[in-house]
Structures are given as structure tokens and as C-alpha cells.
């Protein structure tokens, strides 16, 4: 029984980590309906930045988190303003071109990181121990990431619902044309959104590198993982992404324990395929969309 409870706790906490890494992608997709294929590379960049801050200046990932987020905010704004805004979404194949542009961007980010940090796997020693809650050991690092993921989800939700900018972003998500007709600066809203999404990826990376070692080429896998998660949740749905993250975390841990580690990798994608077949709109579909 203690084992089962431990597995549930571990699954929920890993779910939080997956959510943390997917939130930025979800925000960008929700507003612009474009998958940022450089998302995983942004996460890795944030992580490697935290690594340098730790290695050279002894700064903990807690300090690196806002710095990585700030740097990625600037990079995100530059990318959206300088590149993606120049690709007209309304024209035929606009979304495909944007997708290709972010694909190219992913190479640029990954290879620039390679020149700076090399190809080896890297990690940061941070929050490695466990709290004992009765017979259950709760890993500190996982707990911290999960709590942060939850806080970010709530904060983004509140921002979108209760601030003027947030409401304007949602209006843009529903209809860019309508929002522009009402006098909103749609271009600026998209830049802010993309920058925020990138910042969330960078911040997530600064913490997750302490849990999962990154190398500069890890970005692709992370993008796929985050995309699977938000597709499972119903693209752009906040509560859906959360549910999907916890489902993935629990499925993975349970499958690893009861079916074997080799099977665990497959089970997650079987769940994904099942959802696509039987509930193609995702777990929550159109509810709770941005």
C-alpha cells in the first residue's frame, strides 16, 4: 500500500514537471495556433544558462529561474517581432511557413548552444533529497517543480482572465481580425505572448536541468513531449494540459513499475493514440481554452 501511495505521489509530481515544460508551448499555441518547434531548445537554453550561472557564480537555480526567463523573454520577443511577424498567417500556407521557421530556429538555438556548451550531458546539484511523509519519501526537487508549475498555471490563468492585456490576448486568440477591428494592437499582443511563452520555457529549463540532465540536442525530444501533452489536453486548454500532465506522469510511473521500464515508453504513446482516436479534441476539448 505504501508502495502504491509512493507511486501515485511520484506520478503526480512528475506530471507537474511535464506541465512546467509544456505551459509555454500551450500559451503560444492557444493564442497563435502555431506550434513553436524551438520550444524544447528554449528549455535547454534556459537550463544551460542556469548551469553557467551555477558553475561560474555559484547562483542557485532559484536565482537563475528569473534570469533565464528574462533572457528568453527578450529572445522570444526578438524572434516573434523580427521573424515570425513577417510571415503573413492569413496567406495560404502561412501556418506551415511559421512552423518551418520555428523548425529552423530550433536548429539555430541548438547549434549555438552547442558552440557555447559542447555536446555533453549536464546537470546541476539542487534539491536532491527527500522529505519523509510517513512511509513515503517525497523528492524535494520534483515537489518544487510541481508547485511552481501549479503556481504558473494559476498565474497565467489569472492574467488571461482578469487583466486588460490578458483579455486582449484572449480576444486576439478568438479572432485576430475582430481584435484588430476593435483597435487592439494585435502585433504587439502576439509579440508579448510569444515572449512570455519563451520565458516560461527558459524558466522551466533552469529548474528541470536539476532533475533531468540536458545536452544541447535534447530540445527535440522535449518539444515532442510537450506537444504530446498539450495535444492530449486539448490544444490551448489550461485545465486540460494539467489533467494530461498528471495522466502522463501517473501512467509512466505505474507502467514502469508494473509493466517494466521498456514498456513504459510505449504505453504513454498508446494512451496518446487512444485519445486521438476516441477523443480527437483532447481530454477537455474546447472548454477552458485561452
Amino acid at each position: 500500500m505504501a508502495t502504491f501511495a509512493t507511486l501515485v505521489v511520484l506520478g503526480l509530481l512528475w506530471g507537474g514537471v511535464y506541465l512546467l515544460m509544456a505551459e509555454g508551448l500551450n500559451l503560444i499555441y492557444g493564442v497563435m495556433k502555431v506550434v513553436n518547434l524551438a520550444h524544447g531548445d528554449f528549455i535547454v537554453l534556459g537550463g544551460l544558462l542556469a548551469l553557467t550561472l551555477f558553475g561560474r557564480y555559484g547562483l542557485s537555480p532559484v536565482v537563475a529561474f528569473p534570469l533565464a526567463a528574462a533572457l528568453l523573454f527578450v529572445i522570444g520577443a526578438a524572434v516573434q517581432g523580427g521573424v515570425l511577424e513577417r510571415i503573413p498567417l492569413a496567406k495560404p500556407e502561412g501556418e506551415l511557413r511559421t512552423l518551418l521557421a520555428t523548425f529552423g530556429l530550433s536548429y539555430v538555438v541548438a547549434n549555438t548552444s552547442f558552440l557555447i556548451w559542447g555536446s555533453q550531458f549536464q546537470s546541476i546539484p539542487f534539491l536532491q533529497s527527500a522529505f519523509a511523509v510517513g512511509p513515503i519519501a517525497v523528492p524535494q526537487g520534483l515537489l518544487a517543480c510541481s508547485l511552481l508549475a501549479a503556481a504558473l498555471a494559476v498565474a497565467v490563468h489569472a492574467w488571461l482572465r482578469h487583466t486588460a492585456v490578458g483579455r486582449a490576448v484572449r480576444a486576439t486568440a478568438q479572432s485576430a481580425l475582430g481584435a484588430a477591428a476593435c483597435g487592439l494592437n494585435v502585433r504587439r499582443l502576439r509579440i508579448v505572448t510569444f515572449a512570455l511563452g519563451a520565458a516560461m520555457a527558459g524558466g522551466a529549463g533552469a529548474l528541470v536541468i536539476a532533475l533531468v540532465p540536458f545536452q544541447t540536442s535534447s530540445g527535440g525530444d522535449l518539444t515532442v513531449q510537450a506537444f504530446t501533452l498539450i495535444a492530449l489536453g486539448g490544444l490551448g486548454s489550461y485545465l486540460g494540459a494539467w489533467l494530461a500532465a498528471e495522466l502522463l506522469g501517473i501512467t509512466e510511473v505505474m507502467a514502469q513499475y508494473y509493466l517494466g521500464s521498456d514498456a513504459a515508453a510505449a504505453v504513454i504513446y498508446l494512451v496518446f493514440i487512444a485519445v486521438l482516436v476516441f477523443r480527437p479534441q483532447g481530454l477537455l476539448g474546447r472548454t477552458m481554452r485561452i
Binding site: 546537470s123 546539484p125 533529497s129 527527500a130 519519501a137 540532465p213 521498456d262
Partner: protein, 393 residues
């Protein structure tokens, strides 16, 4: 715009210039040079270990030349850049064999490049001391390849030896589901059984696994004395991380590849303390000629040699020794001489099976102690005493 061919030519020219610029003091080697060909991953993401290997060859050549060359002729390394691409390596070995007509061949790094060029080298009936650790190519499939690096199943033999010497009885094996760790796990299980230990848990995981929490929990339920990972770096770190964050205890934790990398200690910090790993070579080894090798290598290249440099250095030295004994460049005679060679190198005892499998080299056990790697086993090579059992996290 520089084409790839031009780049290759340039890099080859630079390498040649480098080789020619080496001082030839002492007994002057005369006559046309003996040309030793190879392709090396000199650029790209896989270049770091391969450049060590090239430097190992270069140092061996320089030393041989200083001592009067081989058969009285100087050694000249002809190295091209394969960029880590197997099909490029095949083209380059084709060029080395048929167009450059080099006299001897040495190996690229690593196993997949060796496997790519193996059929070509075998067809050309040229001997190649190879730096591929998997055993399949050396069991009669490619008779002209001889193994000049520790074979995979023997990679963790001294770890089992150390565990057995402490009276540990049970082993849990976590194995990455790729070729090297699987072949290694079989070797570990056989060796453990031979030493009277039993494998109480054995499970493979996908190479993309990042969350090891449930796997480690499950392994710990069997209460093994020793948890061994047949791993690379990221998974070794993931397993240690899971064990510490879930308070999983064992008397000994050991991993194949992982602890040997400096990033293991940097990335895990205090969690790396007491963890065991293996290495094929360590600069402090008291092996034949190692002190001079480390000094010369450091003087020539400005950094200490790693195991890639050491095995490459040893492989060219062994090859040159065989040529010298045969007295000609007849490849079949060189092969026969190599198969009978038993000699001490900087890496350890070099010996081959009748089909060319390495049966001499094993590995050395290192342990992270106070943020540093210390060599702890075999005892006669130790730089620090073993710290066992593993303390509580």
C-alpha cells in the same frame, strides 16, 4: 564557398604538415616513410574523444620516429576527417587503401565507424587494430580486425571482483536497452555468477527514459547489496538522482559509463560521493611506460591523456612492434604476429584470442571521493582506499 572536399583536403594537409613537423632526433630513420592511414572524427559533435585518439596516434608515431622508426623507416600518419559520418569514413578508407595506398591502417573512433569500414578493410586484406568494444566483429567475421580496446563483456569485471571481495552477495542490474549496455549486462551477470553472487533483479529501460523513480524503487525492493547500471552518462545520473531523492539504499552503486565523465561529479555534486565507475585507463596507472606517456602527452598537447588517447597510442605501438618483428609489411604475417602478441602497454596487458578478440585488457575501478575521481581497484593501482559500504544519502 569552401566545399567539403576542399575542407577535407585542407584538414589532411594540415595533419600531414603536423606529422612532418615532428622532430626526428636520435637515430635518423631513413628511406621512404611507412604511411599509417586512418579517418578520425576531427570536427562535429563527436569530435572530442576522437581528437584524443588522433593525438594518441601522433604521439606514438613521434616516439617511434625518435627511436629510429620502424624497419628503419619513419612513420607518417595520414589522417582524414570523417566528421563522425560512417559513409564518409567508408569513402576515406577506400581512398586510403586504393588511392593513397597507405602501408598500414589504424582504427577510427568509435564502434559504428569501425563496423562501417570493417568489410572494406577485410576485402583489402589489411590488418586493422580496432577500437570497437563489441565482440561480434572479432569472432571470425572480419579476420583482419584485431581488438585493441577492452571488450564490452569485460568492462565491469573488476567492479564485480571488488564487490565479491567485500562479501556482497546480491546484484540488481539496470540496463539501457541499446547494444553496448546489453552486451555488457550479459558479461556482468556471467562474472557475478562465476564469483558466487546472484543477480536478484535485472531490467532494461528505453534509452530515452528520463524518469527512473519507479524502476529504482522496484530494484530496491529486492534488497540488493549492489546496484549496477549498464549505462551511459545521462541515465547513470538519472538513476543516482532517483535513488537519492527516494532514499533508496544499497551497499554499493556502480555504473559503466557515467562516473568516468567529469560532468557526472559536476552535475550530481554531493550525490556523486561514493559512486563507483569504470575506466579503461587513468593517468596515475602504474602500467608499462605510463609515466613517460603522460608526461610526453601533456608536454605535446597541453592536457592529460584520456583513455581514447591511451588505447590509440597503445594500438599503434603494438602494431609497430609486430611489423618490426615480422621484418616486412606483409599483412598476413603481421596479422599472425599480432595474434601471438602478449605485451604490457600503458593500458594494461594486451593479449588476443585466436580470432582477434581482446582477452588481456579489462578496466579499472574509480570512485568519487570528496569531489574527485580516485582509482580504488585493483588494489595495486589504487590512488586512495576504497570507501565501502555506501553511506546513507
Amino acid at each position: 564557398m569552401t566545399t567539403r572536399r576542399e575542407l577535407l583536403q585542407t584538414s589532411a594537409a594540415i595533419t600531414l604538415l603536423g606529422a612532418m613537423a615532428q622532430p626526428r632526433r636520435g637515430a635518423a630513420a631513413a628511406g621512404p616513410p611507412i604511411r599509417v592511414g586512418c579517418s578520425i572524427t576531427q570536427t562535429g559533435p563527436y569530435s572530442a574523444p576522437a581528437v584524443f585518439e588522433l593525438q594518441g596516434y601522433q604521439l606514438a608515431a613521434a616516439e617511434l620516429n625518435k627511436a629510429g622508426g620502424v624497419l628503419g623507416r619513419p612513420i607518417e600518419i595520414v589522417a582524414y576527417d570523417d566528421q563522425g559520418n560512417p559513409s564518409t569514413a567508408v569513402q576515406l578508407y577506400q581512398k586510403l587503401i586504393h588511392s593513397d595506398r597507405v602501408d598500414l591502417l589504424v582504427s577510427p573512433y568509435e564502434a559504428d565507424l569501425v563496423l562501417a569500414v570493417a568489410p572494406l578493410v577485410t576485402r583489402a586484406r589489411m590488418v586493422m587494430p580496432s577500437l570497437g568494444a563489441n565482440i561480434e566483429p572479432y569472432q571470425g567475421k572480419y579476420p583482419y580486425l584485431i581488438q585493441a580496446i577492452t571488450q564490452t563483456p569485460r568492462y565491469m569485471m573488476p567492479v564485480i571482483d571488488l564487490a565479491a571481495s567485500r562479501g556482497y552477495k546480491t546484484v540488481a542490474l539496470l540496463v539501457q536497452n541499446t547494444q553496448f549496455p546489453q552486451e555488457l549486462a550479459k558479461g556482468i551477470a556471467d562474472e557475478a555468477t562465476a564469483k558466487g553472487m546472484s543477480v536478484v533483479f535485472r531490467e532494461a529501460y528505453a534509452p530515452t527514459t528520463t524518469d527512473f523513480s519507479a524502476l529504482v524503487l522496484k530494484a530496491a525492493e529486492r534488497k540488493p547489496d549492489v546496484i549496477i547500471g549498464a549505462t551511459y552518462l545521462a541515465d547513470a545520473m538519472g538513476i543516482v538522482h532517483a535513488a537519492k531523492s527516494e532514499n533508496v539504499q544499497a551497499k554499493m552503486f556502480a555504473f559503466s559509463i557515467g562516473p568516468v565523465e567529469p560532468e557526472f561529479g559536476k552535475g550530481l555534486g554531493p550525490a556523486a560521493e561514493g559512486i563507483f565507475g569504470t575506466t579503461l585507463y587513468f593517468p596515475s596507472l602504474k602500467t608499462a611506460g605510463n609515466e613517460a606517456f603522460v608526461a610526453d602527452f601533456t608536454a605535446k598537447f597541453g592536457r592529460a591523456p584520456d583513455y581514447h588517447a591511451a588505447v590509440a597510442y597503445a594500438s599503434l605501438k603494438v602494431l609497430a612492434g609486430a611489423v618490426q618483428r615480422v621484418g616486412s609489411l606483409d599483412q598476413d604475417k603481421i596479422l599472425r604476429a599480432l595474434l601471438q602478441t602478449q605485451t604490457d602497454t600503458v593500458v594494461g596487458r594486451f593479449a588476443l584470442s585466436p580470432t582477434g578478440m581482446q582477452t588481456g585488457y579489462t578496466s579499472y575501478v574509480l570512485q568519487w571521493q570528496k569531489g574527485k575521481q580516485e582509482l580504488v581497484w585493483p588494489r595495486e593501482q589504487a590512488t586512495a582506499p576504497v570507501e565501502l559500504p555506501h553511506p546513507a544519502w
